[in-house]
């Protein structure tokens, strides 16, 4: 029976079965793709939020039948690009839109709030949004946007177009001015109106659906595989196994010995290891066919434990006795250094597996494009690499493969995995038809890469007056069942292990160990966050032991420009750490005073609440191992506008916008005149990987150079046309003309036509090359470019329950010249909350964690007010002086929070997540709990 209801103020009828979730009806029957699916129809994430009779509901849990005769509002009904709702404009202005996947749900929840409470308190906004998860923004700007919209609503300000530079939130300094004149995001308009098409929103005629058969065991040998029954099932087009792979079964450059599909006779080394692919006409039919594939498995012993895996006689998983790789650093004489020390501090810190949990699950669409290429559209960090892996697996030339990067709902490293791209490429290769692959959230939990758990043993020496002498570090990282680039982790682990400090001697050894846990791979920070956590907490223990000041201590020991670091080679660029520490010092003092006052009061009142202030610093080697010479292109279009071609995939962090700003700045035009074509192997040059926070420095440098070269070429041609010296010409952006000193002008359109007439190419190449900056003696493995930062957290702990909250935070970062102040602050805020998750609540337990309901992410209620400050210590290597930020921003967060909690309880947390249970145990151990019953009753 058809169900009639009102959809975005229009009466509609649905013929779907009445128990169909409204989410599916809206997306599939009505093609309203603005409403998103983030979990497996469990109501866990809020991305599917729509308004039902004005109230927010989870459309994934709302049966169609229950909306009969009622009013449904989706994001498409909230406003359109030329008629934005106040909230939509406010979201754009405050920088509340990063990857955009949570945005439609957030906007609708916010609208419902403002409709019933026009002037909400911050706590009311938090309550209204607490059920909508966001992984990018840290919620701060979203809350600010709601406050801004509320203000405008109440004052009758009907401004529907986003305004540049809204007044900064209280407590923050005035905005740095953005490069290119505007900090507003390129893609925000499409995201706030639900028009951005993520991979799962793309519909191609005749599209088929792929599902993956995965190992149900943690460790097993695949004896045999029988797909005949599955092949015969309704709707099934083809079942693929390892036998169907024409070229390389895997992507060995990225991950050693990790197959695309495990061949019979080989072992499946983790839960979820892929075995076969089923392609069918519908996802349900593909899923049903999976269950009809007959597997014969020999179950093998498994372990998630590093020590177990390394024991002599342990069951082999892979590698050399389950050791994947190791890395050492040794300088100076550790014994001598420690002998000089007044105190030696020994600690052991541990972290757990973490899951990226980007709001968008892994989603890709493959097809044959108009040029006959196998084209895969999906979010990743490096489409050119994915292109190569696909070509190698299929044994075809690179030119026959194309990889396009669509709007992507977050990655944090998880979407770097080549597996999904090669799988889709394989299906399209054989079937020559469009194929879609979307992971279930469960699959993402089981099979996508994780962050490496670390066990870090540190032994450091310090003199009585607080000078660090020597340090010995032993790091064991759990890389799970497959490499997934985990073999590089030891290098990164040690690079962060010494920090931006001066050491007389260093003895470091880091190992990457295989177990049957989930494969651990790329995750924000790539192994540096965990060792930074151990270092900055060990330093805090040292500082407490000596009774010193946290900032003073770091200043006394911090490296300055030009010094040689513990890695053995000199710093090639400005460091900025001293400036960062000096900037955070007054905030640290202020927090400490206020916390001491609170604790005194609390003790008097018999309250069980205590507060603590934690500080942590960091340094982060950005730029990574990628090429030191990066390419971008610029073009003058026939209509006189500009196009930039580069590859800096934007999965929410704002690289497209940054490139637009840099191009506009260099071209001397407004951003409206510039189009950015980003991360499409068919149209853009290979600008190497978007990772290690390198995009603004490297790709931005190349974009700048390409723009510069284009300007020179344009001025050259215009000079001929006007018969005037090029040096006397300037571009008038408003008119779109080039003028000379005499006021004569020629339009950009005319210049473009002149290029055509002359047979000159309108497309220029630009290179950014810092090869010369690499030290030669010694030659490090990676370019030693570093950014630094420090963060403060104030934590409040209930000493009787162990519950902890972060009340407020301050972050100070040196990122060189700031390109986009809104986005830079947004990155820091988001990173802080991600670090908070790691510190207090996130823990992926192999074999147990399976979905968002049992893997706890921070909600809006966990996000404290954060003040963000930047010190701009310009890079000497870059024309604008920019550095990097995205990953680095997260490094100080977890240790700052753990230091704060530790000081609040008067004890030490040495393992994360510091759940309430663990905090209570540590508090009990510290013996500082007040009488459990609190205040005296009269």
């Amino acid at each position: 029976m058809p169900v009639e209801f009102s959809l975005n103020h229009q009466s509609v009828t649905s013929t779907s079965p009445p128990l169909t979730p409204l989410l599916d009806v809206l997306r599939n029957e009505f093609q309203l793709t603005g409403v998103k699916q983030g979990c497996d129809h469990e109501g866990e994430c809020g991305a599917c939020t729509v308004l039902l009779d004005g109230k927010p509901v989870r459309s994934c849990l709302t049966p169609l039948g229950s909306v009969a005769g009622r009013q449904v509002l989706t994001i498409e009904g909230l406003g359109s690009p030329d008629n934005l709702h106040l909230l939509q404009a406010a979201f754009i202005e405050t920088g509340a839109v990063q990857c955009g996947f949570c945005t439609p749900g957030m906007l609708l929840a916010a609208k419902a709030l403002l409709d019933r409470t026009p002037n909400p308190q911050r706590a009311e906004i938090v309550e209204a949004l607490e059920g909508n998860l966001c992984r990018c923004t840290g919620y701060s700007r979203i809350i600010q946007a709601v406050q801004l919209a509320s203000y405008r609503m109440r004052h009758g300000i009907d401004d529907q177009s986003p305004v540049e530079n809204p007044p900064p939130p209280a407590g923050e300094p005035a905005s740095h001015s953005p490069l290119g004149g505007s900090a507003l995001r390129e893609d925000a308009l499409a995201k706030v109106t639900g028009q951005a098409l993520y991979a799962e929103d793309i519909h191609l005629p005749g599209m088929l659906h792929m599902k993956t058969l995965r190992s149900p065991q943690h460790h097993a040998r695949l004896l045999s595989l029988d797909t005949a029954a599955a092949q015969a099932m309704p709707g099934v087009v083809r079942v693929f196994t390892s036998a169907d792979i024409p070229g390389v079964n895997g992507f060995p450059i990225y991950s050693l010995d990790e197959p695309l599909l495990t061949a019979p006779g080989n072992t499946l080394r983790m839960l979820g290891a892929p075995i076969a692919l089923v392609v069918a006409e519908s996802p349900e039919q593909a899923q049903a066919a999976l269950e009809a594939i007959r597997l014969e498995l020999e179950i093998l012993p498994h372990t998630f434990d590093m020590d177990e895996a390394l024991k002599p006689g342990a069951y082999p998983i892979a590698g050399e006795n389950n050791l994947l790789s190791e890395f050492r650093i040794k300088h100076g004489n550790l014994q001598a250094a420690l002998a000089e020390s007044q105190a030696i501090i020994e600690t052991c810190y541990e972290t757990s597996f973490l899951e990226h949990t980007a709001l968008e699950r892994e989603a890709l669409v493959g097809c044959i494009d108009e040029a006959g290429r196998i084209t895969v559209t999906g979010g990743s960090h490096q489409p050119h690499n994915q292109q190569r892996y696909i070509a190698e697996a299929l044994n075809i030339p690179l030119e026959q493969v194309r990889v396009i990067t669509p709007p992507t709902g977050g990655s944090f490293g998880g979407k770097q995995d080549p597996w999904t791209f090669v799988a889709v490429g394989l299906a399209v290769y054989w079937l020559r038809q469009p194929v879609r692959l979307v992971f279930t959230r469960r699959e993402s939990f089981d099979a996508s890469p994780k962050r490496h758990p670390y066990r870090v043993k540190t032994r450091l020496g310090v003199t009585g007056d607080g000078r660090l002498t020597g340090v010995q570090v032993r790091i064991d990282s759990n890389t799970g069942g497959y490499d997934s680039s985990g073999r590089h982790i030891p290098n990164y682990a040690l690079t962060a292990a010494g920090g931006a400090y001066r050491w007389q001697a260093v003895d470091g050894l880091a190992r990457s160990i295989l177990t049957n846990g989930p494969k651990a791979g790329q995750y924000r920070g790539f192994g540096t966050a965990q060792s930074t956590f151990a270092l900055e907490c060990t330093l805090d223990e040292t500082i407490q032991h000596l009774g010193l000041d946290a900032v003073e201590f770091r200043l006394r020991n911090c490296l300055r420009d030009g010094e040689t670091s513990f890695l053995g080679y000199p710093l090639v660029d400005s460091l900025g750490y001293a400036e960062v520490l000096e900037t955070i010092a007054p905030h640290h003092r202020r927090f400490q005073e206020e916390v001491e006052a609170f604790n005194r009061q609390a003790a008097v009142q018999g309250s069980s609440l205590r507060r603590g202030v934690g500080l942590a610093g960091m340094w982060y080697r950005f730029g990574k191992a990628g090429s030191l010479k990066i390419e971008a292109h610029s073009e003058l279009s026939l209509d006189g506008s500009f196009v930039m071609y580069c590859s800096a995939p934007d999965y929410g962090q704002g690289t497209t916008t940054a490139m637009s700003q840099i191009a506009a700045q260099e071209l001397g035009v407004s951003r409206q005149r510039v189009e950015i074509v980003n991360a499409d192997t068919g149209r853009t040059p290979n600008s190497d990987i978007q990772g290690a926070s390198r995009a603004i420095f490297f790709v931005g440098g190349a974009v700048r150079q390409a723009a510069h070269n284009l300007v020179q070429a344009i001025l050259g041609v215009a000079a001929e046309m006007l018969d005037s010296p090029a040096a006397e010409l300037h571009l008038d952006d408003r008119q779109g003309v080039i003028c000379d000193a005499l006021g004569r002008s020629v339009s950009l359109l005319e210049v473009a036509q002149e290029f055509e007439r002359l047979g000159k190419s309108r497309r220029m190449v630009g290179f950014f090359d810092v090869t010369h900056a690499l030290p030669t003696h010694p030659k490090p493995e990676y370019l030693p470019l570093f950014v630094t930062g420090a963060q403060l957290a104030e934590a409040q702990v209930d000493l009787h329950t162990g519950e902890a909250r972060v009340l407020r935070a301050v972050a100070v970062h040196d990122i060189g010249k700031i390109v986009n102040p809104l986005d830079a602050a947004g990155q820091v805020e988001g990173a802080f909350v991600m670090g908070l998750g790691a510190a207090l609540m996130e823990e992926y337990l192999p074999g147990a964690s399976s979905e968002i309901s049992n893997y706890l992410l921070p909600t809006a209620g966990c996000s404290p007010p954060i003040e963000v400050y930047f010190v701009e210590v310009h890079s000497r290597l870059h024309p604008y002086g920019v550095k990097g930020l995205g990953e680095a921003a997260m490094l100080p967060s977890t240790p700052a929070i753990i230091n704060a909690v530790s000081r609040a309880i008067g004890g030490r947390l040495r393992a994360i997540p510091a759940t309430p249970e663990r905090i209570l145990a540590a508090a009990a151990l510290a013996g500082r709990q007040p009488e459990w019953n609190g205040a005296v009753q009269r």
Binding site: P17, L19, T49, G65, A68, E803
Partner: protein
Amino acid sequence: MTGYYSPTSIAEALKLLHTDPGQGLLMGGGTDLLPDLRKGKKAPRFIVDLTRIPELQTIQVGEQWVEIGAAVTFGALKNHPNLQQRVPALAEAARSVGAEGIQNAATWVGNLVQAMPAADGAILALALEAQVQVVSLEETTWIDVENIFLAPGKSALDPSCQVVARLRFPLPAVPWGAAWQRVGRRTALTLPVINCAVKVEMAEQRIQRAVIALGPVAPRPFRARQAEQHLAGQLPTLEVLQQAARLAQSASQPRDNVLRASRQYRLQLIPTLVYRALNRAIQQAQSPEREEQAQINPNPSLLPRR
């Protein structure tokens, strides 16, 4: 294909259930049922949606009873001004269920019928000594909520032939208070580590009677009767409350849950939560206009009230 009906009266709902006895299931908000259907945990031939029945959508705050229809959502409960004032614990418990989007669909009665040992709604209903009205073709009776729970996930009700029409709980004639305490690993979208609800009725300075409910400390939502008995007729001194809290703890048998909490941690929390809940309930009974408890009895696990 699973059938779906949305009747507009209880009688119609019962009739539908009996067209194919034992094969239909009732649905309220569906926030638990739909995932169960999807996972194959439940596989009825048809669903009867109760949310269109007008008499199930009402909230009535009388002199002696509060009566809440089975289709009333947690969202409606937490926003009801009269209830916010008379029974603030109800708004707090409603708030801790999932998050806003869930609260706008999920119902208190549905929460009870699911019979999970830590269901927020069940713990509160137990403390308030609620009853549910069960309507079948044969009869209509009121059942104490305590008698609904048989085992985790199993209630004494048969949703294929019994409709729970409404829930009611008494408003004591004497000064009284009720309080809600919960510890979770996060403030929203989390199952509880321990939740606790308490009701106290005062006579002059003394506790006349108390009801203490806890979860998950047993296979069913649990009343700490020994602790309750200890409080009866007593002055609410520190020692009395402490002892009651300890008695509640010793009667509890929580289990280990690798994803949520260990047995030991849960045991440690119980006296703290019971003590705090008792304190707040007594404060409420003694001064009904009071609001701010934060200074004397802080509990950062709760959202701040408006």
